[in-house]
Structure formats: structure tokens, C-alpha cells
């Protein structure tokens, strides 16, 4: 809950470069990734960053291509901030925060060309639709990185169904969904001019500005600045990109380890 006392505490401690959970400013909480938690889904993964728990499920279905891209499959990402995840989330149509989360996750995956959409063509007017559903199960800040991690891991372990005689075969002797790339993201927040990596739920209540950077092994692929606040100087953005490129190695290793590469 956003209380003055929590805010003062966090700010005072940050004055001494200490965070509420004794982390360093540019340190992640413990990350645990579990693959294949939902065997019914073609791909699934649960990402835990500290107490933040996000489940991503991937389903494939046969549908029509977009008129402007008749030879490509479609990728659809949606996110739900389930009311069981936090007191801050309510029942109802998707909130702007949920839509932002879905779109930012989608943008990273799309920009990094993770899913090879050209390989999802079946026949004229028939392509595979890839549905990624982000399910937030427990909220303690930094949903962006947890969602990207869960979605990427779910895609990395995704089965590729077969389409034979107008029937979708979802089980038995299937190959894997073909991927081109791997994307991860790093999210930063500022509180009184201090830049924090992986803001927790309490810290997120008092953040002035937020920046999410999604990248692959070589380049930055997507960015999203959030909240009003004081914004960032170019050199701060440069510093954050530097840290992102460095820290993302660990994130990629966590995914690679979990898929057994």
C-alpha cells in the first residue's frame, strides 16, 4: 500500500544507496524460471523475480492472415493483471496498465523477430496464429521483465502442432516452434535521482520515471518509458543501455539453462 511512511523509508535508505531488501541499486532479485508448467498449452513458463510471479501460456490456432501480409502468421499477445495477484488489481476490462504490459512484451518479441512468422504459412488464406497470454499471479513490481522472460521461455519450449486434412493435431511426435532470436528486457526506475534496476512492488509506488529496454544478444530492440516524473538524461539512458546489454547475458543464460541449451 502506498503510505507516506514506506515512501520516506525507501527514500531515506536510498540516500545511503541501500534498498528496502538490502539489494544493490543495479541488482536483480532472485530469478526462478519454470518451464512447461501447463502441459495443455503448446508452450508455457512461469517466471519468478523475487515475489513477482508471472505465467505465460502459448497456444497456436489456424486462422486467416492479415490482408497486407498474406504469407505470414500472426502473433497476438495479451496480458491479464489478475485480481488474485494484488490488492491493486480489480476485476473488469483490461486496464491501461495491462494493455501497456501486453504491448511492450509484444513489441520486444516482434522487434527482435523472435517468432519466424514466415514459417507459419500453411496454405492460401490459412496461417498459424500464435497466442501469448501473460497471466500475472503475484505482483511485486517489474512485470515487464518477468513477462518477457516468461513469454520468451514459453516460446522457446513451444510445440508446433500439425495441420492435416483440415484438422489441428496438437499431441504426439510434434516438432518445436521455429524461433529466430531470443529477447529479454531490463526495467529501471528512478526515485530521487537514483536509478534502480528491477524495482520491487513497494519501490514501484514511488518511482518518478520508468524505462524498459528489450534487447537481444547484439542490439537494443525495444524501449518503453513509463510514468510522468522527471525523465532521463541521454547519458542516463546510455548508462541503462550499457547495463541492460550486460545484465541480459544472465537473463539469456537463465532461459538457455532452463531449455537445456
Amino acid at each position: 500500500m502506498k503510505t507516506t511512511i514506506t515512501g520516506e523509508y525507501i527514500k531515506e535508505m536510498l540516500g545511503k544507496d541501500i534498498r528496502e531488501d538490502a539489494r544493490k541499486l543495479l541488482e536483480y532479485r532472485d530469478i526462478v524460471l519454470k518451464l512447461g508448467t501447463i502441459p495443455n498449452a503448446e508452450g508455457s513458463a512461469e517466471a519468478n523475480i523475487g515475489n513477482t510471479k508471472v505465467l505465460a501460456g502459448v497456444k497456436l490456432g489456424v486462422g486467416e492472415p492479415m490482408p497486407d501480409k498474406p504469407n505470414e502468421g500472426n502473433l497476438m499477445t495479451s496480458a491479464e493483471l489478475l485480481p488474485l495477484a494484488s490488492e491493486q488489481f480489480d476485476i473488469g476490462p483490461p486496464s491501461p496498465e495491462a494493455i501497456e504490459l501486453a504491448r511492450v512484451t509484444d513489441r520486444g518479441i516482434r522487434a527482435a523477430n523472435v517468432v519466424d512468422l514466415s514459417k507459419l504459412f500453411i496454405e492460401k488464406d490459412k496461417v498459424w496464429n500464435v497466442f501469448i497470454d501473460i497471466y500475472v499471479l503475484n505482483y511485486d513490481g517489474n512485470l515487464f521483465d518477468a513477462s518477457t522472460l516468461a513469454a520468451q521461455a514459453a516460446l522457446s519450449s513451444c510445440r508446433m502442432p500439425k495441420y492435416e486434412n483440415e484438422v489441428v493435431i496438437r499431441e504426439g511426435g510434434l516438432g518445436k516452434l521455429q524461433l529466430n532470436n531470443m529477447v529479454t528486457s531490463c526495467t529501471f526506475g528512478t526515485i530521487v535521482n537514483k536509478i534502480l534496476l528491477d524495482p520491487s512492488g513497494n519501490e514501484s509506488l514511488f518511482i518518478d520515471s520508468r524505462l524498459t529496454i528489450a534487447n537481444d544478444e547484439k542490439n537494443i530492440r525495444a524501449m518503453q518509458k513509463g510514468l510522468g516524473g522527471v525523465g532521463f538524461l541521454p547519458k542516463e539512458v546510455d548508462m541503462m543501455m550499457d547495463i541492460t546489454l550486460e545484465r541480459s547475458k544472465d537473463l539469456r543464460n537463465i532461459i538457455k539453462k532452463s531449455i537445456g541449451e
Partner: protein, 258 residues
Amino acid sequence: MSSSQDKPVLIVDGKRLDGRMPGDIRPAKIEANVLKNAAGSAYIEWGNNKILAAVYGPSEALPKHTSNPERAVIKCRYQMAPFSSLEEHGRSGPNRRSIEISKVIKEVFENVIITENFPGSEINIFIEVLQGDGGTRAAGVTAAAVAVATSGIPMTDLPYGVSIGKIGDLIVIDLNKIEDNYSDADVPIVISPRTGKILLLQMDGDMTREEINKGMEMAAKAGEAITKLQVDALKKQYIEISKKYKNEAPSFTPPAQK
């Protein structure tokens, strides 16, 4: 329910497809207190069902007109994830089925929670089916009961759910998805074990009075095992905590100084 022509064989030599006898329930496990933010929560794996339940509250009932000055109001949402089934991608958001199930589950907990203790407040129960394989509402209630108990909200009893059904002439318990799809009847039941009262009963299909009575007997019998799972899950969290502190006094590590 489906036409009888394309019906698969569900019973071979008196055994069901997964090797169970008619009166056997699927293996299940429950874990209490899995979500940090909730007042109480539980995760159940029952056969291939994977369901999370969480309880929030009691808190001020909002919007104001929903509140009752004499007791707490219970609000419940049951939902299936779009990726929960082996079939097509589902649609997120409420549908007619989930709205009805939410309502009947809410009524179960209105029955067992001592709502008079919290006038003017609301208690929210959320049930998210992450993977569904038949009997999700029964498993959902079973998990939600553990979640409510974990939250410390007083209840008169720890209800459990189970479904019974009919395959051909055979009365079976705890139908999985295939059995549910091709069964002749499906009857989800929620029972309050202390009083033996039935708190939820739905049915569709075709059963005689004797068959329903037999099914209800089976549900009551299976209840012992399910209640034990629930109680064990509730105890386990405290056993783990006591183990953790058995050899070490609770200590506080101050953050490192510069």
C-alpha cells in the same frame, strides 16, 4: 454430452481409461499459502487440473451499495485461462458459464464463512483455472476452502468438492475431461464434511434417483481423503516454519553498512 455414435469406449474390464476403479479419485495435492500478496491462497493439482485460489479481505465493501451493514458480502470470480485446455485458444474474460460457476461457488462460501463477524466488508475469492481437465469447479472450491482457512477468516467448516457421473450403467466419481465429454451425466457436488450437508449441487444428463443416491454416497466416502489433503496442506505450512526455526532463533540481518 455427445451423440452415442462417436462415443469412445470409456470402461474396459470395469476399469476406467486411466486405470481407476469407478470409486477412485485422481491423485491430488494441495499447497497452502502460495501467493505472497493474498490474505490466503492455495494451489491444487488434481489429476491434470492446475488451479490457483486466493482470498483478499475482509476489506471495505465497494462500491458502497454492495455492502451489507449486518454481515460481510462474499464476491467470487472463477475463470479459465485462455491456454488452459488442450483445444483451441480460449477467450479471456467472463462468459455465461464462468459467471454461473462464480455465483454457485460464492453461495458455497456464504454458507460456511461466518460473515456476521465482518459487517460492511467484502471478502473476495478468486479461482483461476490454469489448466483444466474436468471437475474444475469442484477442485476450485476445494482449493478456495484451503485459501480461506489460511487467511484466518472464520468458517464453520472446510468444504470440499468432487464430481460424480454416469458412464453407461456405471456410476463413477471424479470425471476427467474425456469422461465428462462423453458421460451420460455429470454432477458436481460440494459437501460440508462436518454436517454432511450439500452446499453445491448441479446436474445435467440422465440418472435415476437410486443412481444419484449412490453417487452422493461415493462423494461422501471420497470426502475423507479430500478433507485429509486439505488439512494436511494447512498443517504443512506450519510444520515447515517450525522446522525452519527449530535449530535457529529467528534472526534479523541488518543491511550492510558502507
